[in-house]
Point group: D3
């Protein structure tokens, strides 16, 4: 398969005609052809599988398996989750598409699927979240722990995460127990949706859809971040942010508010310094 075919498939991939799984397979075949040293890896991780679910459970299990719970056991848990909640795989597809659409450094679906700590951490969370709702919190916490160790991504299994989410680089992400994140959000590394310590019940942020959160930004407490808001890198957000508004600083102040567009998809996380200095 030529490079142009791959590009065509990628372009088509944004539509219904060439779904995510087809693109992944094409890319894996191309990558295996170009790098024989990894051909076995691409075959085992992608080409030998019949579906995205199967391939993903293989990958999550290979990563998370260890002496306490081996890869074979984790794959069974993963498969059960995807079988019983059909919405998970739909979210996964949207997550993959999100990375492909928004990350300029990401040329293939293969990269996030196999390599990105944010993507793999998020999908392991999705399994842990399903376990949580089966009252299997013991195993859910175990999966959270593995995710934190492996990827530096610490998402409480009770948190609610939407679909189409991109977590770029991901090291140091912490998302608390009662946090809620809407669809189509983009998080850079080090994002923290934290509690305030005062409350023992509902104490974490509620983030709307399409929100873009810069690196190391902290959103603390049971506050509301409106749809399509933008949070500047290293900001500390302690109050609600309205829909379509951009905030930045320590503590964060409003920089600008526009119509409720979708900043997460645009990945425009340059916040005009002139505005910040106002």
């Amino acid at each position: 398969m030529s490079e142009s075919e791959v590009k065509t498939a990628k372009a088509a991939g944004t539509g219904a005609a060439a779904p995510v799984w087809q693109r992944l397979r094409l890319e894996a075949a191309e990558a295996a052809r170009r790098e024989p040293a990894l051909a076995g890896f691409f075959n085992a991780a992608v080409l030998s599988h019949d579906s995205l679910t199967q391939a993903l459970c293989y990958q999550l299990a290979q990563k998370a398996g260890g002496p306490d719970m081996n890869a074979l056991q984790i794959r069974e848990v993963c498969k059960q989750a995807f079988l019983e909640d059909k919405n998970i795989i739909k979210c996964v597809e949207r997550d993959l598409q999100a990375v492909s659409d928004r990350d300029p450094a990401c040329r293939t679906l293969l990269q996030p699927f196999l390599f990105f700590k944010g993507f793999l951490g998020l999908q392991t969370y999705r399994v842990a979240h399903w376990l949580w709702h089966q009252d299997r919190d013991v195993l859910a916490f175990f999966m959270q722990s593995r995710t934190s160790e492996l990827y530096g991504v610490d998402i409480h299994p009770a948190a609610k995460m939407g679909c189409g989410i991109m977590m770029d680089h991901a090291t140091g992400v912490v998302i608390g127990e009662t946090a809620v994140v809407g669809d189509d959000c983009s998080f850079m590394h080090g994002v923290n949706l934290g509690g305030t310590g005062k409350e023992f019940t509902d104490r974490h942020p509620k983030v709307g859809k399409g929100v873009l959160i810069g690196a190391d930004a902290k959103i603390l407490g049971n506050i509301k971040i409106g749809d399509y808001a933008r949070i500047g890198a290293s900001s500390v957000v302690l109050e609600d942010v309205k829909c379509g508004c951009t905030v930045a600083g320590v503590p964060a102040k409003v920089i600008a508010c526009i119509d409720c567009e979708e900043p997460a998809k645009a990945m425009d996380h340059l916040i005009s310094p002139s505005k910040m200095q106002d």
Copy 2:
């Protein structure tokens, strides 16, 4: 053992009657009963041991063991440290109790004991610190390195850490060679007690007791943080902070000062934005 019994034991656990080790065992037995896939893990890590020291050395060794120094070797070093310095295990008990008392998302002692990178990183540091004072700095540095790789927690073995310390989430914590931390402090992830580069001798912060430090806060240089102070998330602290005061911002400014209570235990890391904006 019924769930209510576990709760009772947990409640009692804050007093002298039900020590930490008993609670851990009860919780492990309950967890093993509820999640057979991890029953072997809970047995190996908790139930098969006779004491907290024994179980902890097993867990630290299982984690830190690798091709350069295996689990059996690390366990021996750990046991020797706990045997020769009886104060270490007392600190461990207080650390466990601290997490249980202060972290609302932590329902059991089992979670920090087996899963929390902050707890496990701190205890591995305690072993490295003991080695340091045996003039075994080579092995102490090795342990520091393993801790940084495994948990993202980088504590110099010469640093002095008190007891009753909670490090939540913990990814990215860095604590320098001449830092001192008092009892009962609480650190969120990403906390940095750093040097300033100018000095080659005593160049890191001296943190009092009961101090609460928010996520990604940096305290730089040989400065003094008074007892019960609070440091806002993402703050950069470059000057002394007085007892009972709250500081925040880049660079950090004083927000408020109260009597010398214990904010670390309250885990109230919401800093009023109205005050910050003053």
Copy 3:
């Protein structure tokens, strides 16, 4: 070999007479003598090798090897890179020397060489960068992924990094695809040379030589950081910084500008709070 001999060798090591590799061997022999539990490790990692290149490829391969690509395979790739581009090993020597010169907590070359995530992550990047220019981007991305998992250091293989670079502690470092970093820079952990999301082509910072960047500082967008500049911890830099200037804050403002000295080597990352508060 006595401790004084080691010190002499270290002192001499800054000159041409006692090159880096000789010092490493002396230190490894001394460490093996002092800590028998790690004698096998020091022998395998340093003493059994004939050159710095050989020892480094051993160490990178031991760390990065895994089920997808084993240590033997990675070592071959590493050796090929060092063989075909003789400049890499010169950079490695300068990197080692840089850590030794600038980090007060680092007493030996052995520590960074074997243990420091920043050093090991940087050298794995150097191999990935060489692969990138061989049009082997598939394997280059694989190496980037391993580096991010193992060390929490995420450097795009296309980024251009100079020589004599120190990355201290290193957890959470993220350096983007079109970033350029000059010689003799010093980065603390959590440094981010990020894009802004708006541009798909040249979108990351261009950092001059001898620049010192504090912990968790973010430099975002295709901006220019002049030689010998200093960036305060946790700063968010969105505009060019002139040669010799110190900036700090969120967003970063100029604190002071001096003649174009070399702050990276002095490691003076205390930024006067009085100036920041101006």
Copy 4:
């Protein structure tokens, strides 16, 4: 479950009422209760599975998985074989029952299922044999190689093995490419069904049903061993053996011939020395 219940289940297990899988589960539950150190193992290997096929594929994969082909990959191959050829699992059940019926030292089905090299080697062969008939001889040879390494059991994947076969101890068993073995045979360790080197086509023994072959016995060449024959330990058999006959010695001579009973089931491998000395 009490020991008497286990015995009852075992007794009943020879009939249709309590199939092999039910007995295995009862035994695993009992064993887990009695030996907590292995409770996790018994759960992972038996109790967490829904069927004998599932549990067996788990066990074969856990054993045979390695750096060249991991456990997840081997399990998929195993499951495919058992799915497409429903006769394999029936053979497995008869093999298990055979060990239970014939080996006095084997008190449970659990022992052969989890521990016996003969049983595990035979079942891995069954998967390799299925692969052979799918024209996947490359993978079939790989599985043969793993079986030889792990269990010391070297069965060519093209050989034809019946059902209800017991291989006791098993170290050193070698069975050649064109060998055929009937149902209900019992082999001690070191049994060799070898070729003669002269022929490149059909060159290995054809063994009837219910044959008992003693330890280290060699049967060489395309000869016929009749049903219910007995071969003495360390014999070298170079000529056909008639149904119901006992042979022994180097080279083997006929000791006695009786009606065609089933010596393999009786496991009577004492050959009267007085008769041999005739």
Copy 5:
């Protein structure tokens, strides 16, 4: 330490002055000095321990540890066995001495202690045998299984083995449930003390003291082998052998009988062919 000192120590080692553990340590130190590539191994396996028991439990655990039961767990079981039954370590010392005295190819105690499958398999059996008498047959069978996999040595945990036993090469040794072996016996590889299948109770050989059994010899049934008897290689013994007699052949016949000396110690397993041909 010079080679002559080692020799002196070895010579003295047969007396009370230089016990086995001292010799092992001297040899390990010498070996570590001569082969730096294994210095870490010798340190971890011998030099870092305080006693023979401690070192042996380390070695058995390192070997037998795996995914089902890890090295740390096995070491605890081993230490418990040696603690509660003080006779085990005395047997171990005699076993080591036996190999040193009788095997011309064995120049050091280090070789059997670290490398010989017969020695390591025998000591693992000793632990399993202790477990058997604690009514922990589940774990005892597990240990038997590991021993068979690792060393090709299959000894039923209920068998009774004396002290001062040497098993040379050891691959393929099988010793049944009701077998008894006296002190000071020497077994070559492939020795089988087997049952006859007819009996479900006491059905294996009773071997006296000082017996020498050649490679692949089979002794079958509840028969008695007198003290100081010799069994020729590849023999099949089906009847009692009197004290001091040599037997050989298939089936075995008496070759000669002498006074009850100790052929096991002389290791004279050349059986005069002229006598056999009689």
Copy 6:
């Protein structure tokens, strides 16, 4: 590459035109094409290498590497041996060719090269033998131990083995310290070239060239086996065997003597039972 091309290459492989390494590569490419699940394995083990020596050292190291001495270390030792003694690789080529010529079940060179315990055990011995002559007996014994564990092949590093040797199946082979084996011999599994225990110096067999030794045959003592002799399976040979003679039985008697042809190459190990019964 078509199957017919492979066959042509194989046919040609017996001549000078298509050397062993070319055939191996062709076969590996074909196998990788036919079995994608093992494509990565064939690439890593064969296709990624430049020479037979390089590929073999990779394979031996992958197999023998472990916690005591890792794969990277073993590969260096292997490469050094092949570099300094150029005759080793010539022997390896002849060994490979021997298996291909003589084993009807072996269709490719790939099988012995990657999978056959006899071939891999023999080559590991060749490295150990080289070490022995460098006075590195400590490491030589370590390699012997690994070979015995991994392959069930126990060859003393001081033994002298010729070239063009095939060891089929190989489990249980034991070859003593002072044994000598000529070129072009073929050994089945379980062959023992043993000592007699009486002598502490030269005490093992001297086997000529082209000798064929059947399964489990024992040759004991410092006796001479003439060129092109044949030893029947399970024989016990205690006296010299003349050139071209066939012996069999316990103890072995002469069956026939012919001109000094090369039975090892013909692999005719059927010994006429009529002659044995004479």
